[in-house]
Amino acid sequence: MSKRDHPDHSTDSGSARDGHSQKKGKPSSGLSRRQFIKGTGLAVSASVLVSEGLLKAAGAQEASGVAGPGAVPIRLRVNGQVRELRIEPRVMLLDALRNHLDITGSKKVCDRASCGACTVIVDGRPVYSCTMLAIDAQGRSIETIESLASGDDLHPMSQSFVDNDAQQCGFCTSGFVMACKAYLDKHPHPTYDEVKKALNGNLCRCGTYMGIRNAVLEAATKTSTKGAQA
């Protein structure tokens, strides 16, 4: 029986999600909930201080050993572009993308790593961006759904979602597409049952799961066919 109480259940052992499980990430990840941090004036934390990216970005604050509570300059590499912004250290990656960079494809739904609507790919792995501090995402490669399409040409995964009607209201779709892409990147030839297990870290309210299963299998077939031809 499936279980989403802990997101480690959402992927097979070969694709455990760093950001989803927050177990294998950097030491700071245990403090990644803004809910937890808010109001503390970000006395955050020795653990944040060992974050290499923060140390680079925090500049003068490095000496004092405290980042924040005010805005600090940080640098994110999003969809291949380096973006510089000034945000409070308590800002989550999802909010940095949506509120500060106007990159809104990733959605905020549960805001606590339960539903996967905010899934982005960080260093090749799917991550719940609602639960990763933006400062912790420095120095990493962040891919959002906006990186997939080029012009009018949809990514094969997005196209499969259209062809299989794997979306209704569409609010879970970005997260699902990114989770599916990250999964197929590592597991190009999944079975139907493997697909069901692998995507258990994302939730849909409209009930598009039948289409999503078919979309992933179709995208896998298309991608592998392309690969064979190339």
Partner: protein, 713 residues
Amino acid sequence: MADIKWPAPADRHLIGKRISRIDGPFKSSGRAKYTFDINRPNMLFGKMVLSAHAHAKIDKIDTGEAEGMPGVRAVYTMVPEGQEVNWVGQEVVALAADTEEQAEEAADHVHIDYSPLPFLVADTDPQQAGPDRTKQLRDQSEGDPQQGFQQAEVTHEGAYGIPVITHCCLESHGSVAEWNGDKLNVWLSTQNVSGSAGQYSDGLKQAGINVAPSDVSIDCQYMGGGFGSKFGPDSWGIAAAVLARKAGRPVKMMLERDHELLSAGCRPSLHGRIKVGAKKDGTLVAWDSESWGTGGMGSAGTPPLPYIFKIPNQHVRHSAVLTNIGPARAWRAPNHPQVCFLTMTALDDLAAKLGMDPLDFFLKNIGITGPRSANYQEELLRAADMIAWKKNWHPRGDRATGPVKRGLGLSIHTWGGAGHVSNCRCTIQPDGSVEVALGSQDLGTGTRTVIDIVAAETLGLPLEGVQVAIGDNKYPPDGASGGSTTVGGVSSSTRVAATNALNQLLEKVAPSLNATPDQLEAVGGRIQVRGDSARSIPWKQACAKLGAAPIVAMGQRDASLISAGVGGAQMAQVAVDTETGVVRMEKIVAVQDCGLVIDPKTAESQVYGACIMGTCYALHEEKIMDDQTGACLNPNMEFYRLSGIDDIGEIQVHMMTGPGYDERGVIGLGEPPVVSPGAAISNAVANAIGARVPDLPITPNRVLMALGKGGAV
């Protein structure tokens, strides 16, 4: 002018074909902009302070500290001192700040003193709730119930219950409000684009701001789920507009997830003690039910018990229990999933007592299901065929060895679905471009796609030849998307508007084809003499004959193109682990009619989705309230459980189409298929384990209790 009809089957080029939703590429690439995604220059973020009490008088509100916090630009008191709050999560104070984090932190520094008052949050019966908390809504008899039960040779009595659940829209309720002088622009996540401006005008007047409905613009291109919970601006929408006015800057106010589950939607519960009797041959003769449910402090309507089966002798009593759980909202097919559950489970238990296969029992009584009885019969038999009922069904209690038991269950359902008020404007430009505009909205049901299909079909164009403009109240007014009334409204008004526009074009073109307008048709991107492609001109050349002025034609909902009243049958197969109590939905087959199906692809998606949503409430969903504190214990998506992709087995959908169905015209579909899954799954569990789990959701604990293996209440 001749009556406007749907094209004959042989003349349909788009209607009835499997067409992918036209806004799909925008959604699956992340480009679709939902209300939540709107970022305006200098926009502030709004947050609210929620009541910590289920029922209390507000003595004092101190916003001083919050107002002085970094980034805070405006504060608005939604419930003034001296008034009462009625549930945990009711909005008391709203504020707006430069960043979301600042607003959230400031909300924590608003200080509110309450005098707690008595509350009730338990989903309890009228006797325990007491007369002050009970409102009797129905006490009614038909036939002679007493005599009916005397005639009955087999009688079953049971108690059943279905709890309060939430809507849990993935895009939470909310808006972005921006003033432009005295005009208000709102991006609103709504099922009611055309009907919201007036609600803003009324709501803002109460907050001391006068704005005419005509000065309120509503924009909703994409919305992330409503399911009946998003028909107006709500108190937080008004608050966002007030804060924006005070601050002189746009304000985005989207509900946090906990707030969404606490305040923005609940489906009323329904519980009942039911007695039902039949003759030995299965003929239903008598029904008696005493039911109650809660939908907060409102009455939540009168559930139509018994469902579908018009049992000749019946007595029905229903009361609403008034509780402090937050207000009820329409939830996809209001009241139907609840009454379906109570009725179909009681009938299934009676069939078991009679020693009858429930399929035979339902068919035996199909004659008392009203005017759609022939459809129900056809649909039940079709579904039985799809799931191989006669081969796979067994009497109660799977005798297979091992702890996992399998079973089959069934249910039938109905819904109305007539079209709502709809106005469509079809514009044909001299360059050949076409726009159809309606103040409607696409909830993810495929409304935009259906409009495109109908317009393109009517004008003989490809889908890309028509621009669909919806989601803005500057377009002709359209109904709210509730009651599965959208597709009937928009498809008929679009068919009429496009036909009217085409007729004007044909008049202009006829002379050049040496024909009269009534001899012409639009097909394959050309205007031609009917059946003679040699005498034709391409669409663009035809439109060029318009000169400088475009054609603008209107169309309204046309009752002759639509209908109401649908039926459906669903059968479920489950596997129950009798050691752990875990239930797995292995298969649902769903057979559904809805008249003329415009796009089978998105129509089937509605049914697939409904079967999954139904599985969610059958097995997982419950808004759990704490009697001691009055708080909801699971206002989040970890403990308010939805089914994941691996929780769902196989689903097969069959749409009833063709003769007998198509000629009824278009009928709404969104709601009916979500009605049956709870009953069908519960009946399947009873069939598997040989005992009824009387309440939804069917949790492992409840399964173990039904099996007499312990468990806790």
